[in-house]
């Protein structure tokens, strides 16, 4: 992601602060102070993420209400799921009156990438107490993983205070914006003229495009598009989602590994 080049500078500042203050304090005060400054260093890194996510938080709230959610439900979904794309998928399917289990399955499918983040970040935070790890995994989003992984790759320790400083502002603002969006979404009179009903497909196209560097991206997209359109015309909604998704994934599984860029490891 862009905008994370800010990483280097605050580190130096922090080191200077430490050096000048260390001789003044007892060991305990130092470690407390260090945790606090680590936290604020994380907060600083969270700012671009908070700004980038803000419109989507508001949009989610407005769309959730448009698709039949109450303000409280929109708020709860953001507070409990905390995954933008999956929440958008969830309310879209909810608006189409898709079976509840299929909505949950779709949320699971969209969020499935976190399994890989989780496996990756696990070795960086394994030194935390278990409850801190449990909290850490709850706020493991795409940018959270990207920024934390960068810090770890630079040879630095990923501490709990820093990690929370990075993740908590994103979480708090996301939940507040969802509620605000839901409240104000109710006040929008003509959602069609503002294009609100078609904003999600545009947003999803953007997400599809963001994966275009992955191996087999084009064949998977073509297979899923064709299968979902055929299923939409024959079997009908909501099954086009599952059928189209399975078609794309199966294609990736069936094609020989050298096409998928995934090598057999010893």
């Amino acid at each position: 992601m862009r905008g994370f080049k800010v990483l280097e500078r605050p580190l130096l500042v922090q080191k200077d602060e430490r050096r000048s203050k260390e001789w003044l304090m007892s060991a305990e005060a130092i470690s407390e102070n260090r945790a606090r400054s680590d936290f604020w260093q994380g907060v600083r890194l969270s700012l671009p993420v908070v700004v980038a996510a803000a419109p989507f938080g508001l949009l989610f709230g407005a769309l959730a209400v448009d698709n039949g959610f109450s303000v409280l439900e929109a708020f709860l979904m953001s507070a409990m799921v905390f995954g933008g794309a999956s929440q958008m998928v969830g309310i879209e399917l909810f608006g189409q009156h898709v079976a509840p289990w299929l909505i949950v399955l779709s949320i699971f499918a969209v969020n499935f990438r976190h399994v890989l983040y989780s496996a990756g970040i696990g070795r960086r935070i394994a030194h935390w107490p278990v409850m801190q790890q449990a909290a850490g995994y709850f706020i493991l989003t795409d940018p959270q993983f990207a920024v934390a992984e960068r810090k770890a790759e630079a040879g630095e320790t990923v501490g709990f205070a820093w990690y929370m400083g990075l993740g908590l502002p994103v979480y708090v603002f996301w939940v507040i914006e969802s509620a605000l969006g839901a409240v104000f979404g109710k006040l929008i009179p003509d959602t069609h003229a503002l294009g609100i009903d078609f904003l999600l497909p545009i947003y999803f196209l953007g997400l599809v495009m963001s994966f275009r560097k992955r191996p087999l991206w084009l064949p998977v997209v073509v297979a899923s598009a064709a299968a979902s359109i055929i299923a939409y015309k024959t079997v009908g909604s909501p099954w086009h989602v599952s059928i189209g998704a399975v078609a794309g994934v199966l294609l990736a599984v069936i094609l020989p590994p050298h096409h998928s860029g995934v090598e057999a490891r010893p």
């Binding site: 998928v89 699971f108 969209v110 976190h114 078609f198 189209g244 599984v253 590994p257 995934v262 490891r265």
Partner: protein
């Protein structure tokens, strides 16, 4: 409890499982089969495409223009730039073709 609340609760649990599951499960295996990994890699594009393709097919010129512009912008810009460009084209085009 209403159906909506059940969906939210189950969706939250499913999401938390993906966030903690990779650490709990995948890290125990020495290696993942390449075909399984290829399949996992394909999940986001496959799922998301199904939410765009039928909607695009059933839409009109205003929506098509928005998708094309958004798609082109996404080749260069970030998610936010492409989204704003697409939304702007959509709102503008709908003033003319409804």
């Amino acid at each position: 409890m209403s159906t909506t609340l059940w969906i939210i609760l189950a969706g939250a649990i499913a999401t938390y499982l993906t966030r903690i599951g990779g650490h709990l499960v995948i890290s125990r295996f020495e290696n993942i089969h390449p075909r399984v990994e290829a399949g996992l890699n394909a999940v986001p594009a496959a799922v998301l495409t199904t939410l765009v393709a039928p909607a695009a097919l059933g839409a009109g010129p205003a929506e098509w223009a928005a998708l094309i512009v958004a798609g082109l912008v996404s080749l260069r810009g970030g998610l936010m730039a492409m989204f704003l460009a697409g939304a702007a084209v959509l709102v503008l085009a709908r003033q003319f073709v409804g």
